[in-house]
């Protein structure tokens, strides 16, 4: 339990200045749900902590048909879970949010923190990847945009440079006739880290074929990943049971899971296949008619546990 200085900026500029002044020894915190644990165990020992809670405006959530969904990095997972437009238009993200921890943690945890923490098991990350999220990053040199697929560099490592802050995640508007789901595989119904997470988002063409397919997987590789080969197997194809099963098989092959206290690698790979198949099936089934009611979405997201 090392001591540190606690800094509280009231604007983004002030925060950037504090980060620049602090150098290597300073750590930014949002909801602090990851931070406190790593500080207590001594894994992180910052000289100073810059808390973003009092920087106004960074928690906004907005949607319009042209730009899609904008999530301020400080938006809490709870706010995302509760958001009607997200439940309607980005059901896989709502599923990821509702499968996340428990209410108390969701109230603190931020979407930006989940991304910047870069855990392969982060529950919102497969859905963000599947919806093609772009990151807005602000730093000493100004602002830049980066696709989320390039943001993750390894467990706990991101493309953020020293002094940079993630301020926003932007998800383009899904085409019409798009369905999606995230399933979290965990033995316990809440407050559990994913053993595997799978998200699928499918947009259908007028002839019923798959126009766009994204499959994203959590906790089966060093970073949350898109299963591009599996997506390719389905794009342009009819979403038949056989095609979906084949895509799921390819997805499982593309992973590189580890064995740990939660699961063996072999079981993880088996589960990727099962969960990919189930998320794809659900995405296809709801593409035309719209998402399941939220209660059902929640049950589906946690189906392996509850």
């Amino acid at each position: 339990m090392a001591r540190f200085n606690y800094l509280e900026p009231h604007s983004l500029d002030e925060a950037l200045r504090m980060l620049a002044d602090g150098g290597d020894g300073v750590r930014l915190v949002a909801g602090s749900t990851d931070f406190l644990i790593r500080w207590r165990t001594g894994f992180w020992r910052p000289d100073a902590v810059v808390c973003m809670q009092h920087v106004p405006g960074l928690d906004a959530i907005s949607f319009n048909d042209a730009d899609g969904l904008s999530l301020g990095a400080m938006a809490t997972v709870q706010a995302i879970e509760q958001h009607d437009v997200i439940r309607q238009r980005y059901p896989a993200l709502a599923a990821g949010a509702t499968a996340f921890a428990g209410v108390q943690v969701r109230n603190l945890a931020t979407i930006g923190g989940n991304a910047c923490n870069a855990s392969p098991a982060g529950d919102t990350l497969p859905a963000l990847l599947a919806y093609d999220a772009q990151c807005r990053i602000v730093g000493p040199a100004g602002e830049r945009w980066l696709p989320l697929t390039e943001f993750f560099q390894g467990p706990g490592r991101t493309a953020l440079q020293p002094g940079e802050i993630l301020t926003e995640l932007r998800l383009p508007p899904p085409p019409p006739r798009t369905g999606g789901l995230y399933i979290k595989h965990s033995p316990r119904g809440a407050m559990d880290i994913s053993a595997i997470g799978a998200a699928a988002v499918v947009s259908l063409a007028d002839d019923g074929a798959c126009r766009r397919v994204s499959i994203a997987l959590g906790a089966v590789a060093p970073v949350p990943m898109r299963a591009n080969a599996a997506e390719g197997r389905l794009i342009g194809q009819q979403p038949t049971a056989a095609n979906i099963a084949e895509a799921a098989r390819i997805a499982a092959q593309s992973t590189n899971p580890i064995s740990d206290v939660r699961s063996g690698a072999g079981y993880r790979r088996d589960m990727v296949q099962v969960l990919t198949q189930r998320t794809l099936q659900h995405a296809v089934a709801t593409a035309a008619g719209g998402p399941a009611p939220f209660g059902e979405l929640r049950r589906l997201a946690l189906q392996t546990a509850i």
């Binding site: 339990m1 090392a2 001591r3 001594g42 595989h185 033995p187 316990r188 119904g189 809440a190 407050m191 559990d192 880290i193 206290v261 939660r262 699961s263 063996g264 079981y267 088996d270 589960m271 099962v274 392996t304 546990a305 509850i306």
Partner: protein, 761 residues
């Protein structure tokens, strides 16, 4: 016979401490703040087995705010033990035996400083070969955890090398019975390490009174056991130690014995200031003994009609670095709730370089029940007999002889089976992937030294003094027993707080003994109090005692009810009476054998693709005798089942295969069930009064937790036709079974038999 016309018993009484607990006012050990108090932190061993060459405390001692640092060398050179075998130092002197073992303690002005100091201590180790797997540990060439074992006090019942205990039970001619049996069926089961999961981590405050006496404010199930343990390791007479039992935030066996109290105690003695130690959750996982994995070999001889004629069970209990709670209660349960005329039961306690084994809600019995009750279903399926019928055919009946040789008194075993059968409409065909499983659980009502004193106050209330710490509402039940016996309301009974200077000596609160044994002492003390009240009233009223009754807080004339004296009047009168103030006391050392039986059924759904098991419904019927406080009884039954479901499905204390270190020391990785994971639990209370319990009550607490692993495993078999013999029944394990890829579990029983000179095949 007891009167079944109760005034207080049999009704629901909210816990006497409910308000204090809900409002956060109940005082736990961590809530004790004394002037000038220091904070204590512990340095855990980083090695599983090593000689300590040097501990450098210099830089830590130089840190501003640090007041005192102690290591093993600061304690008297005495070993202690939690059982008969004295196999450990309270803090190791020269050798560490598991990762996490406390090897130094710091007292500083605050917790952060103490922790900083801990991190400044450097230890030089010389590694010794470590042994982590108990099966390996039993091999003659395995490295030895305790090379000096033979010199330890209490060595008498150990086998030597790494086998710290061997418990046995035999009856009849087992080998002949196996030869004569129509079928011989054998299995090996394995159950996992389990953490007790108490809410309140270990905490205590030590203080030295001006007269030099040591006072310990403890979180404990056994204040007298703490006192005895401290006296041993500090070489103090017990009269120099006072233990105040604070509210207990869950123990489940983990707080039965001396834990870390000696560290703040010695620091307080050295500094002259009060010292507080509060464990973190990680420390609760890595320093204080959980249950460790158990491997169970079980073999039965069975006749064609399903009659079990022979049973052999060899059980290997990993005890970790120190015997701790050891195999404990496991041994007697190798035959379960059945009449088995010939048996050979063996329980080995084997040392490894892991955290030492602790107690948990009838230690070992849940492991045994998982094996025995899974095995029962295996027998049933092999013989094509309904699992319910097999249980009914072999179930113990009144007059049978229990495993320990005691005659089984009247009991509700058959009624519990019938009740569960009716509740789940057994046998029932279910949709694909759904199944029902049964389990039968048995335990005995806990015994041991029990005392109580009841004194009548000026206002007609009574004060009840016992040495038992409250666990799971036992204070409320003891108050109810006193109220019933005295003919007063619950509100008229004050339950005094525990303090070894004031309360009479008693055994620990554990093993389902408080209400049964301690409750009997309370009932007897209350009876004596009532007799004295009646005697005094008789004297004052000039009437014979048998002309008087005692009810509603007064002694009255049986054939003229309005005439009488209230307790208030009698209390006043007693001051100047011949007998003096009224106090009733009772003490006992043990109680007769009184079994407790429970039948349980789980209904599950299995996902064939993920292997995940979901419990949809749980039904249990338990013969509780008289339900002293039905609400509390149901709470115990449900709590036990929830713990059992955790054991069955998700809880798994894992250890590093090389170092033996706990791999998942947090509730984020050690998965206890949450409300969302828990099905509707239906409780059926069977009331066959115990011949000897207070007002016919039996023990309640232990059996509910035994059944779920087997009931759920049996339900999984019913659902998808595979038997999983290893806990927990994780999706991974069930899926492997569905693919026919379960790892084979084996035990080399032949060589264990040979070591004992048994020639059987």
């Amino acid at each position: 016979m007891t009167s079944r016309n109760f005034k207080v018993l049999g009704q629901n009484h909210p816990r006497v401490d409910a308000y204090d607990k809900v409002t956060g006012r109940a005082a736990y050990a961590a809530d004790v703040y004394l002037p000038g108090m220091l904070a204590c932190k512990l340095l855990p061993s980083a090695r599983s087995h090593a000689r300590i060459l040097r501990i450098d405390t210099g830089p830590a001692a130089a840190l501003p705010g640090v007041r005192c640092i102690i290591t093993g060398a600061d304690f008297p050179d005495v070993r202690f033990g939690s059982g008969a075998l004295r196999d450990r130092y309270v803090m190791p002197r020269d050798t560490v035996n598991f990762v996490g073992e406390p090897i130094a303690a710091v007292a500083a002005v605050d917790e952060a400083t103490a922790q900083e100091a801990i991190e400044l201590i450097t230890v030089e180790y010389e590694d010794l070969p470590a042994v982590v797997n108990p099966i390996t540990s039993m091999q003659p060439d395995a490295s030895t955890v305790h090379p000096d074992l033979e010199d330890y006090q209490g060595y008498g019942f150990t086998m030597g090398h790494n086998v710290s205990t061997l418990l046995d039970a035999d009856r009849g001619d087992v080998d002949q019975a196996f030869q004569d049996a129509d079928h011989v069926i054998e299995d090996v089961y394995r159950s996992q390490g389990i953490n007790q999961g108490f809410l309140e981590p270990m905490a205590c405050v030590a203080d030295v009174e001006p007269n030099g006496r040591l006072v310990i404010y403890a979180s404990t199930q056994g204040p007298y056991q703490i006192r005895a343990g401290l006296a041993a390791v500090l070489e103090l007479p017990v009269s120099r130690i006072r233990v105040v039992a604070m509210e207990l935030g869950g123990g489940f066996g983990a707080k039965l014995r001396l834990a870390f109290e000696a560290f703040p105690a010695l620091l307080a003695m050295r500094t002259g200031r009060p010292v507080k130690l509060v464990n973190t959750r990680e420390e609760a996982f890595t320093m204080n003994g959980p249950r460790l994995p158990v491997t169970n070999y079980i073999r039965s001889g069975v006749m064609n009609d399903g009659t079990i004629t022979a049973r052999e069970a060899y059980t290997i209990f990993d005890v970790g670095a120190y015997l701790g709670a050891g195999p404990n209660s496991g041994i007697g349960h190798g035959i379960g709730a059945y009449r088995v005329p010939n048996f050979r039961l063996r329980s080995y306690g084997v040392y490894t370089n892991k955290i030492y084994v602790g107690s948990y809600r009838a230690s070992g019995v849940a492991d045994m029940t998982f094996a025995v009750e899974s095995h029962m279903d295996h027998i049933a399926h092999r013989l094509g007999i309904d699992p319910y019928d097999l249980r009914l055919r072999n179930a113990l009946r009144e007059g049978d002889v229990s495993v320990s040789g005691a005659v089984v008194p009247s009991n509700g075993l058959l009624e519990t089976l019938q009740a569960v059968k009716d509740a789940v409409a057994w046998p029932r065909q279910l949709e694909d992937g759904h199944g029902i499983g049964l389990a039968l659980c048995e335990w005995r009502s806990g015994s041991g030294p029990s005392t109580a004193a009841i004194s009548v106050n000026d206002d007609g209330t009574v004060s009840l003094l016992t040495g038992s710490t409250d666990i799971s509402g036992s204070d409320t039940s003891l108050a109810a027993i006193a109220a019933e016996a005295l003919g007063i309301g619950m509100q008229q009974v004050i339950v005094a707080k525990r303090d070894t200077d004031m309360a009479p000596y008693t055994g620990q609160s554990g093993g389902s003994r408080v209400v049964y044994s301690q409750g009997t002492a309370v009932q007897r003390a209350a009876n004596e109090t009532r007799d004295k009240l009646i005697a005094l009233a008789a004297e004052r009223l000039g009437l014979p005692q048998d002309a008087l009754g005692c009810e509603d807080g007064r002694v009255y004339v049986l054939d003229n009810e309005p005439q009488g004296l209230t307790f208030t009047q009698l209390a006043a009168a007693s001051i100047t009476s011949r007998g003096g103030p009224i106090i009733g006391t009772a003490a006992l050392s043990s109680m007769p054998y009184t079994p407790v039986f429970a039948a349980q059924a789980a209904e599950v759904k299995v996902d064939r693709e993920t292997g995940q098991v979901r419990v949809l419904r749980y039904v249990q019927a338990q013969d509780v005798g008289t339900a002293i406080n039905p609400m509390a009884v149901e709470g115990q039954l449900e709590g036990g089942v929830v713990q059992g479901i955790g054991r069955a499905l998700t809880e798994d204390q894992q250890f590093d295969p090389d170092t033996g270190a706990v791999r998942n020391p947090s509730f984020a990785a050690y998965l206890m069930p949450l409300a969302i994971d828990t099905p509707q639990i239906e409780n059926i209370l069977i009331d066959v009064p115990a011949p000897d319990g207070p007002f016919g009550a039996r023990a309640v607490a232990e059996p509910p937790g035994f059944g779920p692993p087997a009931a759920i495993a049996n339900a999984v078999y019913d659902a998808v036709g595979v038997r999983v013999k290893e806990l927990p029944l994780s999706g991974e394990r069930v899926l492997a079974a569905l693919k026919g890829q379960s790892p084979a579990l084996t035990m080399d029983v032949a060589s264990l038999r040979r070591a004992e000179g048994i020639a059987a095949d």
